[in-house]
Amino acid sequence: MSERDHSVHSHTPRAARIGIYAILVFAALFYLTPLYVIVITSLKSLQEVHLGNLLSLPLRPTFDAWREAWSSACSGATCQGVQVYFWNSVHLVIPAVLISTAFGAVNGYVLTKWRFRGSDLFFSLLLIGTFIPFQMILLPMAWVLGKIHLENTIAGLVMVHVIYGLAFTTLFFRNFYVTIPNELVKAAMIDGAGFFTIFWRILLPVSTPIFMVTIIWQFTQIWNDFLFGVVFTSGAIHPITVALNNLVNTSTGVRRYNVDMAAALIAALPTLLVYLIAGKYFVRGLTAGSVKG
């Protein structure tokens, strides 16, 4: 993306510029308010929640709601808080991201540097997979997971996420490796390097950007997933998204809004942090993924 010569814009009148900034700031407030509300609600006692309103700051901020959300909140039958489910998600995300990214990388390598008859067609068919509503695979997958005894396990969920993440990870790496000149591969072949040597020593060292994009994208998708979690796991194996939903929507008794918000924050923190730290890779993933084919 080249820096555009902004001579076009140097003529906007001052009043218009003030208006523009005003709108942008107002929009920013719109996007930030829910986060603000989540945070301050989570820092209030339940009494303050009832006494104050959405935007009022806590008079006596406390982390009680957080503690409760983490270790003692009741969702469904158990009252262990969301920590169990948080770790479930962690155990899910790490292998799923690593495996799907690894496969995506070699797939992208083969599809761009070792093309053969049908490889382009294969890629197109794989890409179609990114449009399919997953409702089409839920029933068969549930049946298959049962048959191989992986139903209601994190391993089973990892398998599901890897399989259905392959299309995206392959897309990312393929679009990236397409930009690397094929003459590099030819030179390496003449130098005597084989299939894996070329991948390992020539392509991987320059692949850091796309690895970042893919890992962050997969991490966000898998951590935030709900559908696979709610269909393929139950009880103690739930990932945190399902647990959060259970906590907020299926618990009985007095609604503890502050605990709900704290739990939401716990669920949101990992992906939010990743976004804050490595946001530019996230954006690249969004725009790269949408330039398909």
Binding site: D191, A193, V206
Partner: protein
């Protein structure tokens, strides 16, 4: 070192496109073979086939009398330099040069020695720890050549290596390449679309067009005795003039009918062409004559057997410094002449021109082959 033998090599691509239609080339040791031709002629494909990066559909390739058709590139004992240099971006210059040696498990001492020699030969000692993105175009080119030399192969392959350099650098590198060839005493196969590069660098030139070799020979041979219209027009800049003429035979021999403006005259054909042209009374031929063979009237040359005089109207002039190019019209064709700048007349004026037909060539208009 590096006898290359290409016998009847064919290449057809999947959708029945025949890219190479039977290529035969035999080189000696230490040859500088040039594959030259317009884009799409098949020269790069042929190079890839020699390298083993593509398979031929038919024919044989022998390197040093060893049949290499079934061998992968790494086993053919070749090295290749690419147009884009293809240096490994994540490695330093040192690592780039040593990569192939490492894969072949060459012992450390030998590797270091080779590196030292190569770096000294190409004057890149001071660049060894840099990465490719920190090098200029010319430096990258040298590193790519260094990587190739380090392999100590039986055959060097160059794929348009100077195309990405600016004009001045290109001329410098050309000289270096020539000198390099003398030092390394190994056959080089060099692909280019630039006929000047072909002429200055090579000692054996294969002019290619449309998947076939149009002519194989030394630079001078190809320049003086082109086999057909294509070769004649491709080599030489500004290119050879092609003047269609009708043959008139009288008792003095064969003559070429010329029309210049309103004037008609018959120019006697040169001695070397008389035999062939006498049989074509009334037929059309194409006279091929290079610009430098049409000059201003030089009294000293008037006596030579095959010189002819003619006056023509100057159309445009292009001063190039050492000469001035004069454009005239003969037989409805634009003809370029090369004259000494002080002698050049102005556009619109009439000028006397000396045609040296001793080196003129004649082509059959239908077959485009040379007939004299």
């Amino acid at each position: 070192m590096g006898k290359l033998s290409i016998r009847n090599v064919h290449k057809t691509f999947g959708n029945n496109v025949e890219v190479l239609k039977g290529i035969d080339i035999e080189t000696s040791d230490n040859q500088f073979l040039i594959l030259v031709g317009p884009s799409g002629c098949g020269k790069s494909t042929l190079l890839n086939i020699i390298a083993g990066l593509e398979a031929s559909t038919g024919g044989d390739i022998h390197i040093n009398d060893r049949r290499v058709n079934d061998l992968s590139p790494r086993d053919r004992d070749i090295a290749m330099v690419f147009q884009s240099y293809a240096l490994y971006p994540s490695m330093t210059v040192r690592q780039n040069i040593l990569f192939g040696l490492q894969i072949r498990k060459v012992p450390r001492e030998e590797r270091e020695r080779t590196l030292k020699d190569v770096a000294a030969m190409l004057q890149i000692d001071h660049l060894l720890e840099r990465k490719p993105r920190e090098l200029s175009g010319g430096q990258r080119q040298r590193v790519a050549i260094g990587r190739a030399i380090a392999r100590d192969p039986a055959l060097f392959l160059f794929d348009e290596p100077l195309s990405n350099l600016d004009a001045k650098l290109r001329v410098e590198m050309r000289d270096e390449l020539k000198r390099l060839h003398q030092r390394i005493q190994t056959t080089i196969v060099y692909v280019t679309h630039d006929q000047i590069e072909a002429m200055t660098l090579g000692d054996l030139i294969a002019v290619m067009n449309d998947g076939q070799i149009q002519q194989l020979g030394s630079p001078q041979e190809i320049y003086d005795n082109p086999a057909n219209l294509f070769v004649a027009g491709f080599i030489g800049s500004p290119s050879m003039n092609f003047i269609p003429c009708e043959i008139t035979v009288d008792d003095q021999g064969a003559g070429l009918q010329m029309q210049e403006g309103d004037n008609r005259l018959v120019m006697q054909a040169p001695d070397h062409a008389q035999a062939a042209l006498r049989e074509r009374n009334g037929q059309k031929v194409i006279l091929g004559i290079r610009p430098e063979q049409i000059t201003h009237k030089r009294v000293s040359q008037l006596d030579e057997a095959d010189t002819r005089l003619m006056t023509a109207t100057v159309d445009i002039i292009e001063p190039t410094g050492p000469d001035t190019l004069i454009f005239i019209h003969l037989n409805d064709t634009k003809v370029i002449c090369r004259v000494h700048p002080p002698e050049a007349k102005q556009p619109g004026e009439r000028m006397e021109l000396l045609f040296d037909l001793a080196k003129a060539v004649f082509f059959d208009p239908q077959t485009e082959q040379r007939i004299a």
